[in-house]
């Protein structure tokens, strides 16, 4: 896939049905009333990873106007999950602001966003607005407010507290994301058991970086598991971050089976 079609440069304008397509118009109105997501091909857009197996599983790419949950595999891997989430946020809104809303506790425990490092994952620090909140409730409120704002491209909400996002709260976010055609990402410090109304759910951990030179740290690598997907298959992959081009790549299969084994894991195993 060519690099330029991978990103959606501009958001589509809010949906307005043409007057002469009455049945289609009605169908959409009903869908909207019922709060069901738009069919994927009609949604504001998909965000292809540019990696065939992942895009296939997602039915073309990550739904842009939806809520996605990204959990760190463990607390020590919070930075990996953050990097993954911020990279996605950066893809979705190249020219617009990205809001990073977090509990103050998360900043204390996992570290505060560091501008020079944001640049490394392809997110311009000048476009980032960092919002801290004392309570998960405030994080959710700020996310919803931000999703409504025209100038915001993507919203990342970081909630550490376990079981702080219930079905109702996540559903509100999900609807707000769909209505305003913006990407909403929920970042968790560890995998949650509580069900969340997200389009997809990911568990992201760190993976050993490919050793291209002797005893040096290679490019960032992520062990990514897609454990819930409303529109397709599940899967698990090892990705590498391409610092120069700001995109993910599938980790090359080495002579040692680092990535190959994981790719073929059945879905049930991935869920567990």
């Amino acid at each position: 896939m060519p690099a330029d079609s991978r990103l959606f440069e501009k958001s589509s304008p809010p949906f307005r049905a043409p007057k002469n397509r009455f049945p289609e118009d009605l169908r959409r109105a009903v869908r909207r009333l019922e709060g069901r997501p738009e069919p994927l091909d009609e949604a504001a857009g998909l965000l292809p990873f540019g990696i065939a197996p992942i895009d296939q599983a997602l039915g073309g790419g990550l739904a842009r106007a939806a809520l996605h949950e990204i959990a760190a595999a463990s607390e020590a891997e919070a930075a990996a999950a953050t990097g993954f989430a911020l990279a996605l946020a950066g893809f979705s809104a190249p020219a617009r602001a990205v809001l990073w809303v977090a509990e103050e506790m998360a900043h204390r425990e996992s570290g505060a966003p560091y501008g020079p490092g944001l640049d490394e994952v392809g997110l311009a620090p000048e476009a980032v607005l960092v919002v801290a909140a004392a309570h998960p409730r405030d994080v959710l409120w700020a996310m919803e407010e931000a999703l409504r704002c025209r100038a915001v491209g993507a919203v990342v909400g970081e909630i550490r507290k376990a079981n702080a996002v219930d079905g109702v709260a996540s559903r509100r976010l999900s609807l707000a994301a769909a209505r305003h055609q913006r990407l909403a990402l929920l970042l968790r410090a560890r995998p949650e058991t509580q069900p969340v109304a997200a389009a997809t759910r990911w568990i992201v951990g760190a993976a050993p970086s490919p050793k291209r030179a002797l005893s040096a740290v290679g490019p960032s690598a992520f062990a990514v598991r897609l454990v819930r997907n409303r529109h397709g298959r599940l899967g698990s992959w090892t990705l590498e971050w391409n610092r120069a081009e700001h995109r993910f790549e599938l980790a090359p299969t080495h002579s040692q089976p680092v990535a190959a084994e994981i790719v073929d894991r059945p879905h049930s195993a991935a869920v567990a």
């Binding site: 020590a76 020079p116 620090p125």
Partner: protein
């Protein structure tokens, strides 16, 4: 004042209404002395400054309470805040006075005498015994109020009315008054006609300065407790309001008035404060900031709506508010077209969002990342309140990128801990990266490491920190951390290691 405060407390706690005299005692030197007495005690001949033992002998039934200077100061400040209903220029004059500059305000209350009556009546209802006087100078008003002079010193008559008052009315230190008394100077009238030079030589410049101030020969500035706003407007209610909707409707109405004024002057508000005067005398102040000059009443109302929602139960309306005042504490020039175009403008939309978030969560909690020209990692970037850093500038990141490209700066972590956390680390060679380290009780085996990147401490600064050797390490499961050793190895007996950040 202290006795009033204590009686008020008793009344609130459940009606301990005593006839006996009440006195507040505090330690002065090595002796427990009376600090304040109430009217009943005063009738029995007790005065402030009396030793407690002596007072007990004079009045065995005296009720004695320990002094609490902090509580008195709080009460005085609350009274000063409450006095803002008469004028924005109110100063606290510790320990027991409040100064009001009512220039230009008195006619709103039906003249000076009527204002004084109103003030005394309201304060008496709160259970405070107050003396008040009105004069042209602070000194004269103070003297008249403290030494039962006339309630209203007419303009130009300061000299006549001060002449009969004791010298202590000039706000002089006690020693000066005592020295003056020793030479037979007891009343202000005694020194009015004395030659100035010997007086100053003998008793110090303070005496003449206070005299000049009281007589209006020297200007004395009032130091208001809260800065006087450039714009404010208020609404009084015959019937107190308590509901949130009523308060917000009032805000919208007041904002409407202010915005007209702002528009005529071509300004917009950056900081707005709502003061609500509760019927029981407490004053609630709620303020919101804005990221760009604002003069839209509905937006102002919405911001206060967020603020009230954030306060939830904390803004206790009690029996309601009888006065609401909206003040603009900071205004900036705003060209008229800026607001008209706002609706279709992305930065404006972002600023509106910032304002809403800041109103609810607090201004410091909504931040923009700013690059600083510093080689020390924690100083190189900062999160500044988004309302006060400019939205459209690039905040120093272009310079940072140029610098990074020029020196080929090694990668920086995605998340930085506010304070580097100490870790236990074992290194293979003294100067090398750690082999394994323990952070937050978990052991990490280092699989790969890059470094060191030496970052010098601030050797020119007072709190000089040692140089740091930073390593970028990856543990066996792929987590990447930014560690450093504080200090050069050769200078240290036992090297100390810290974890500072995490890479994606």
């Amino acid at each position: 004042m202290s006795t009033d405060r204590i009686r008020r407390q008793w009344r609130e706690a459940g009606g301990r209404e005593e006839r006996e005299g009440l006195a507040v005692v505090g330690k002065r030197g090595n002796v427990e002395r009376l600090v304040a007495v109430d009217a009943a005690a005063e009738q029995r001949g007790l005065r402030g400054g009396l030793a407690l033992a002596e007072a007990r002998a004079m009045d065995p039934a005296l009720v004695v309470v320990e002094e609490d200077a902090a509580a008195d100061a709080r009460l005085l400040e609350a009274v000063a805040d409450w006095c803002q209903r008469y004028t924005p220029l109110v100063a606290v004059d510790a320990p027991d006075s409040v100064l009001l500059d009512i220039g230009g305000c008195a006619h709103l209350f039906g003249g000076e005498a009527a204002l004084r009556e109103d003030l005394l009546a309201r304060l008496a209802r709160f259970g405070l015994t107050v003396c008040a006087s009105i004069a042209d100078t602070i000194g004269a008003a103070w003297a008249a109020a403290h030494f039962s002079g006339p309630t209203c010193v007419e303009s130009g008559k300061e000299r006549d009315c001060l002449a009969g008052l004791p010298l202590a009315a000039l706000r002089l230190p006690e020693e000066t008054v005592a020295v003056l008394a020793r030479v037979g100077l007891k009343r202000i009238g005694d020194i009015l006609d004395l030659p100035r030079a010997p007086l100053a030589a003998r008793f110090g410049g303070e005496l003449l300065r206070q005299l000049d101030r009281a007589l209006g020969r020297e200007r004395e500035p009032l130091n208001p407790r809260l800065p006087a706003p450039s714009y404010f407007t208020e609404q009084r209610f015959a019937e107190p309001i308590a509901r949130e909707e009523d308060v917000l409707a009032t805000v919208a109405r007041l904002a409407q008035r202010l915005c007209g004024l702002l528009e005529r002057r071509g300004e917009g508000a950056r900081r707005i404060e709502l003061a609500l005067f509760r019927t029981d005398g407490a004053v609630r102040r709620i303020s919101v900031g804005t990221a760009r000059p604002l003069r839209d009443p509905q937006t102002i109302r919405a911001l206060f709506g967020e603020r009230l929602a954030a306060l939830a139960d904390a803004w206790d309306p009690g029996f309601g508010f009888d006065l609401a005042r909206l003040a603009i504490l900071a205004a900036e020039p705003a060209p008229p077209q800026q607001i008209g175009l706002g609706a279709n403008d992305d930065p404006a939309a972002l600023d509106e969002l910032t304002d809403r978030l800041a109103a609810r969560l607090g201004s410091h909690r909504v931040a923009r990342l700013v690059a600083h020209d510093s080689h020390v990692p924690e100083l190189a970037a900062a999160a500044l309140s988004a309302q006060w850093s400019t939205a459209r500038s690039e905040n120093g990141w272009a310079d940072f990128r140029r610098f990074r490209a020029a020196v080929a700066l090694p990668p920086r972590p995605l998340r930085l801990l506010a304070r580097p956390e100490p870790i236990e680390a074992v290194a293979a060679v003294p100067d090398g990266p750690p082999l394994r380290f323990r952070w937050r009780r978990a052991l990490h085996e280092v699989a790969a490491a890059e470094g060191p990147e030496r970052i010098e401490g601030l050797w020119w600064s007072e709190d000089e920190a040692p140089a740091r050797d930073y390593f970028r390490v990856e543990d066996v499961s792929g987590r990447r951390f930014w560690l450093f050793r504080a200090g050069l190895y050769r200078d240290l007996a036992a090297p100390r290691w810290f974890l500072h950040g995490m890479f994606a």
